[in-house]
Amino acid sequence: MERVCSRRFEVGTRSTTRRSFAAVNRRSAAPGSAYIATCSRRIASLAAFLVLLASSRGWGAEYTFIVAGLGGEPQYEARFREQANALAAFARQSADADAVIVLSGPEATRNAVRRALTTLTQSVQAQDAVTIVLIGHGSFDGEDYRLNLPGPDPTGRELAAWFDQLPSRRQLIVNATSASGAVAEDWKRKHRIVITATKSGGERTATRFAQHWTAAATTTAADVNKDDLVTAAEAFDYARRQVETAFKADAALATEHARLEGENASTFAVAGLGAAHASAGPETAGLLAQRGALELRLNEVKERKTALTEEAYYDELEQVLVKLALLQRRIDASRTSIEGGG
C-alpha cells in the first residue's frame, strides 16, 4: 500500500500539481486524484512538510497565466515576449502544456485576457494555486490604471473584477508593468499576494522588474536558503535587489520601487528546482518531518546567538547542522530510490 501511495505521489508531483486545463476539467472522473488528495492530507500532517506543504507546492494544482503587453518599440516587444516565454517554458517543465497560458504580441488583447481568465476561473479549484504575471507597460491617469494591450486597454478595476472570479485561495499576481503600484492596494485580497514593480502609479518609466523576476522564477539565483524551492518572498527580494543594483550600476536615479502586498509570500512557491521537483514517498516524508524539526532547532540556536559565547554558538550550530546534513543524505537516498522505482 505504501508502495502504491509513493508511486501515486510521484505521479502527483510530476504531472498533477501543475494540472492541465483538460485534466482538471476531467478531474472528477479521474480515480487517481482522490487518492492523491488522501496522500496529500497524510503528508500534510507531518512536520517535515512545515515548509513544503505550507507552500503552494504542497497540495492542489498550479496554474500559470502570463500576459506580455504592447512593447511600443521593437526592443521592448522582443524583451517582453522573451520574458513571458522563459517563464512559461520553466512552468511547463513540471506541468502539462495547457496548465500554462501565455498571451503575447497581437494575441494579448483585452478580450483574450478576459477569456483566458474566465477559462481559468472554470478550471481552478479553491486549493489550487494560481500565478498571474503581467509584463509590459502600464499607465495611470490619477484614477485608473491601464494595462497597455493591442486594442482597448483593460483597466485596473476590470482586471481586479476578473481576478476576483478565481476561486483559488492561493493566488499570486505579479504586475511587472510601469505604474503598477497603482493597483497594489486595490488588488490585494485575503488569499492573494500582489507584487508590483513600482510603488505607485506615479512611477511611469518602463520597468526592469520583469527581467529580474524572470531570473528569480527560472533559476537558482533567488534560492537563498538553497532548499531548491523559490518562494514568492525570495523571488521578490531577489528581483527588488537586482533592480536596485542595476540602477546603482548605471548611477541612475531609481525610477521603480517594487512592492509586495499580502501574506504568506514566504510559503508560496514560484519555482521548484532540483530536488523540489522530485517526489516524496512516506519514507521520505518521515525524514522530511525530522528535517523540519531540526530546522526549528536551528532557528532556536540562531536566535540565541547573542546570548552565547562564540564558541558555544558554533558548537551548537555544528550539532544541529551535522544532524541536518546526515539526514539530508538519507532524504536524497530515499528520493533516489523512489525515482529509480526501487
Partner: protein, 770 residues
C-alpha cells in the same frame, strides 16, 4: 568624426581626472580671491570715501559710525553701499534693486549691485547685471571689469581677453591692473604680475586710493619667488592692522600651488588679525578638511556660515560633515622592503569591506613603484577617501556639488569618487587612484613646487606605464590638437590647465603632458624624467629645469617633442579622414548587422589608430563583429589587442575572460577577471566566479579575498560566500576559520548540499585525527 567620450577607457579616465583637477583649482580658491576687495570706481561718492578711509585703516568703530550716518542719504546707491559696508547685505540688495527700478538706464547701480553678487558668490547673477550695464552703456569699463572679474573668479578663459580690452580702453584703472596682476600670478607669470602691480601702485598713489591689495599681491610675488613676504605684510598691517586679507591672499596662492599646510598657517593668521573675515574662515575650514582635521574644519566652517550664510561651499561642506559618521576610517600598515607605511582609508560603511582590500593592494603597489621610480619615500601616512555619492566627493574637494571631478590629491590625502559613485564603465577607479597616488609622490617630493603640467604629465604617464590598465591611450581630441598645431609650448602648458582657451583644452593638456613624459622616457631614458622632477625640489622655472636636465632651450625641447609626436602618430595624421570614414562605416555596418562589412572597416580603423580604446573603440567593434560571424578565435585576438592597449570596458573584459577560458588559457583568464576588480568591483557574480577559479588554481589567499568581497556584497544571500571562504581557509590550513565559515553558510542556507558535504567531511577528518 566619432569623438571620444569619457567612458570605456583609461584614457577617458585620465581625461575626466584632468577636468577634475582644473575645476578644483578653480573652485577651491575663490573664497579668498575676492576677500577685502576695494572699490576703486571714481564714481564712488565722496561721503562713502571718508568712511572707506576709516575702514581701510582698520578704524572699525569710526567706519561704522560713518557708514551709519549715510543710511538716510538721499542717494540710494550710497545708502546701499553703507548697508553693504555695515554687513546688511539683504538691505543693500533691496536698495540696489530699487535704484535700478527707479532708473532703468542706471549703469553704476547695476555695476555695484553686480559686485554685491560677486561677494555673495552668485556669479551668474553678477555677470547678468554687468551685461545689463553694458547693454545700456557698452563702453562702461567698470562693467567690463566686473564681468572680467566674474570670469576670473570662475577661471574662465574669457577673463583675459576682456581684461586686455579694458586696459586698452582705459589704462588708469587700478582695479584692472590689480586683476591683471592676480591672474598673472595665478599662471606663475611673476614678471608680468610685477609690472601690473607697479602700474597699479602708481595709479593708487595718484588717485589716493588704498594700496592694500597691491601690498598683498606683492607679498604673494615674493612668496612665489620663495622670498620672505614679511616686508609687504608689515606694510599692509601698518596701513590697516585688521587687514586679514593680506594673509588670505597669500593663502590663496599657496592653495593654488597645493601647499595646503602653508596655506593653513596663513589662514590662521588671517582670522586672527581679522576675526570677521568670513571667507578666510571658510577657506581655513576647507583647507583643514583637505588635511583631514575634521573637528577644527567644522568649527571654522560654522563660524564662516554665521557671518556669510550665502556661500554654497560653506553650506555644502557643513552638510557633508553632518554625514561623516557614515564613513569608516581605518589605518593599515603596508610593508615594502624595510619600510612600513601607514595608509588610512575613509570609506563608506556600506562598501568599506569590499573596497578596502583592493584599495590597499593598489596603495601598496603604488608606493612600491613610485618610491623606486622617483626615489622619494613617503614621510607621512597616505589617506585614501572614496565617496559613493559624487556630490559628497565634489563638496569634499571643492565644496560644490555637481562638478565633473573624479579624483583629487591634497598632499598626502587622496579624495575620489567611489566606483559606486558612477555608472559601471564610466570610470576606472583603479586607474584614477593610481593617477592620484602619482600626484602624492610628485607633490611631496618637490614640496608642491612641481609645475602642474609635470605633475599631471607624470600621473598620466604612470597610468600608461605602470597603472592597472597599462597602455598609451591618446584620444582623438589630442590627435586633432597635434594636427592643428594647438599644443602649447612646455613653458606655457600650465595655462592649458588653468585657463583653457578652447573647448577640451584641459583634456588635451593632460594628454600632451603625458606624451611629454613619454617622449622624455623614450628619447632620453626614464632617469631623465625623474631628474626633471627633482629639479623642482627648489624654485626653478620650467625653462630652467629643461635647460638643466636636457641641455637645450625649452624652444628646442618643444621642437623635438613636436617631431616625436608627429612621428609617433604619422600614420594616423596622414589618414585622419580615412580613419573617421572607416569608424563610421564600421558602426553603420554593425547597426545593420552586416558583420562582414563591419569587420573590414573596424580592422582598418584599428590598424590606423590602435590607441583608440575609448567609447566606440574599433577593437571592440571588430571583436563583436567577428564573434557574430562565428570567428571566436579572431574575436579573442581583437579583444586581447584592446586589453593590451589599455582597454578596460567591464563587459568586454568579461567576454575576454570567458573566451580565454574556452581557449584553454585559464591563468590569463583569471588575470583578466582579477583586473576587473579595479573597473567594476561591486559585481558579486564576478567575485564568486573569480574566487572559484582562483581556488581551482590553488591561489587560495587571493580566492579568500574574493569570497570575503562577495560576502560583503551579499548580506541577503551569504551562503555561497561563506562556503567559498570556508574552502579557501581550509586550503590555507586555517581549520577553525573554515569551520566557522561553513557553519555560517549552513546557518544561512541549511539545505546547501555542497556545504553539508563539506561539513561532514570536515567532521570525519576531525574524528580521524582525534
Amino acid at each position: 568624426m566619432r569623438s571620444m567620450t569619457p567612458s570605456g577607457a583609461s584614457g577617458a579616465t585620465l581625461l575626466s581626472t584632468a577636468i577634475a583637477a582644473c575645476v578644483l583649482a578653480t573652485l577651491a580658491v575663490f573664497g579668498a580671491a575676492h576677500a577685502g576687495a576695494i572699490d576703486y570706481d571714481p564714481r564712488r561718492s565722496a561721503s562713502l570715501r571718508v568712511c572707506d578711509d576709516h575702514q581701510q585703516h582698520g578704524r572699525i568703530e569710526q567706519a561704522r559710525k560713518c557708514y551709519s550716518l549715510l543710511l538716510t542719504d538721499s542717494n540710494l546707491i550710497t545708502q546701499a553701499e553703507a548697508r553693504w559696508a555695515l554687513g546688511d547685505l539683504r538691505a543693500a540688495n533691496e536698495l540696489f534693486r530699487r535704484a535700478v527700478q527707479d532708473n532703468d538706464r542706471a549703469v553704476q547701480a547695476r555695476v555695484r549691485w553686480g559686485w554685491l553678487f560677486v561677494q555673495t558668490h552668485q556669479y551668474a547673477d553678477a555677470a547678468e547685471l554687468f551685461r545689463q550695464a553694458l547693454r545700456i552703456f557698452p563702453k562702461d569699463v567698470h562693467a567690463k571689469l566686473g564681468l572680467a572679474q566674474t570670469f576670473a573668479e570662475r577661471f574662465e578663459g574669457q577673463a583675459k581677453p576682456l581684461l586686455e580690452e579694458v586696459l586698452r580702453e582705459n589704462d588708469e584703472l587700478p582695479a584692472a591692473h590689480v586683476l591683471a596682476a592676480r591672474m598673472a600670478l595665478e599662471e606663475g607669470q611673476l614678471a608680468a604680475a610685477e609690472r601690473a602691480l607697479d602700474r597699479a601702485a602708481q595709479l593708487t598713489a595718484q588717485q589716493k586710493q588704498p594700496p592694500l591689495e597691491i601690498y598683498a599681491l606683492r607679498a604673494a610675488v615674493e612668496l612665489s619667488r620663495e622670498r620672505s613676504p614679511h616686508a609687504w605684510i608689515q606694510r599692509a598691517l601698518d596701513y590697516n592692522p585688521r587687514y586679514g586679507a593680506v594673509f588670505a591672499t597669500l593663502a590663496h596662492f599657496e592653495v593654488m600651488r597645493r601647499r595646503y599646510r602653508e596655506a593653513t598657517v596663513l589662514l590662521r593668521r588671517a582670522v586672527e588679525v581679522q576675526p570677521d573675515l568670513w571667507s578666510a574662515h571658510a577657506e581655513l575650514g576647507a583647507n583643514l578638511l583637505r588635511l583631514g582635521d575634521v573637528a577644527e574644519a567644522r568649527s571654522h566652517l560654522a563660524t564662516a556660515y554665521s557671518g556669510d550664510p550665502y556661500s554654497p561651499t560653506t553650506v555644502n561642506s557643513l552638510r557633508l560633515l553632518d554625514r561623516i559618521d557614515e564613513f569608516e576610517t581605518t589605518t593599515a600598515h603596508v610593508e615594502i622592503g624595510a619600510h612600513v607605511y601607514q595608509v588610512k582609508t575613509r570609506l563608506h560603511r556600506d562598501e568599506a569591506a569590499v573596497l578596502r582590500p583592493y584599495a590597499l593592494d593598489l596603495a601598496q603597489r603604488g608606493i612600491d613603484a613610485f618610491s623606486k621610480r622617483y626615489g622619494f619615500t613617503l614621510r607621512e601616512p597616505m589617506s585614501l577617501e572614496l565617496y559613493p555619492d559624487h556630490d559628497d566627493f565634489a563638496v569634499r574637494v571643492a565644496a560644490l556639488p555637481g562638478i565633473g571631478l573624479l579624483g583629487v590629491t591634497f598632499g598626502y590625502v587622496i579624495a575620489m569618487d567611489s566606483p559606486s559613485g558612477r555608472a559601471v564603465g564610466d570610470f576606472h577607479w583603479g586607474g584614477t587612484l593610481w593617477h592620484e597616488m602619482a600626484h602624492v609622490f610628485t607633490l611631496e617630493a618637490t614640496e608642491h613646487r612641481v609645475p602642474r603640467w609635470l605633475s599631471e604629465g607624470i600621473s598620466v604617464f604612470e597610468e600608461w606605464r605602470t597603472g592597472p590598465t597599462p597602455g598609451v591611450a591618446v584620444p582623438p581630441e589630442a590627435i586633432m590638437a597635434l594636427k592643428e598645431n594647438r599644443l602649447l609650448p612646455v613653458a606655457a602648458l600650465d595655462s592649458g590647465f588653468i585657463r583653457p582657451s578652447y573647448p577640451n583644452q584641459v583634456q588635451v593638456s593632460y594628454v600632451q603632458a603625458g606624451l611629454l613624459c613619454l617622449f622624455i622616457e623614450e628619447r632620453f631614458g626614464f632617469e631623465h624624467l625623474a631628474a626633471l622632477l627633482r629639479q623642482f625640489t627648489r624654485n626653478v622655472s620650467t625653462e630652467q629645469a629643461v635647460a638643466n636636465v636636457f641641455r637645450m632651450s625649452s624652444e628646442e625641447f618643444d621642437r623635438q617633442f613636436d617631431a616625436y609626436a608627429r612621428a609617433r602618430y604619422q600614420t594616423l595624421l596622414a589618414h585622419m579622414d580615412e580613419w573617421d570614414e572607416q569608424q563610421e562605416r564600421a558602426h553603420e555596418a554593425a547597426e545593420k548587422e552586416q558583420w562582414a562589412d563591419a569587420v573590414e572597416a573596424a580592422r582598418r580603423a584599428a590598424a590606423l589608430y590602435p590607441e583608440h580604446i575609448g567609447s566606440g573603440s574599433p577593437h571592440l567593434l571588430l571583436a563583436h563583429a567577428l564573434d557574430k560571424l562565428g570567428r571566436r578565435r579572431e574575436a579573442l585576438a581583437a579583444l586581447e589587442r584592446y586589453y593590451t592597449a589599455g582597454g578596460w570596458d567591464p563587459a568586454a573584459l568579461r567576454d575576454l575572460a570567458h573566451w580565454l577560458e574556452e581557449a584553454g588559457r585559464p591563468r590569463e583568464s583569471i588575470a583578466v577577471l582579477a583586473a576587473l576588480n579595479y573597473a567594476d568591483p561591486l559585481n558579486p557574480a564576478q567575485h564568486e566566479e573569480l574566487g572559484e577559479r582562483l581556488l581551482s588554481e590553488a591561489q587560495n589567499a587571493a580566492a579568500l579575498r574574493e569570497f570575503q568581497a562577495l560576502l560583503a556584497l551579499s548580506a541577503q544571500d551569504p551562503a555561497a560566500a561563506y562556503f567559498g571562504a570556508a574552502r579557501a581557509h581550509r586550503a590555507l590550513g586555517d581549520a577553525a576559520a573554515s569551520r566557522r565559515n561553513v557553519l555560517d553558510a549552513l546557518a544561512a542556507a541549511p539545505h546547501f548540499k555542497p556545504a553539508q558535504e563539506f561539513l561532514l567531511q570536515m567532521i570525519e577528518e576531525r574524528q580521524n585525527n582525534e
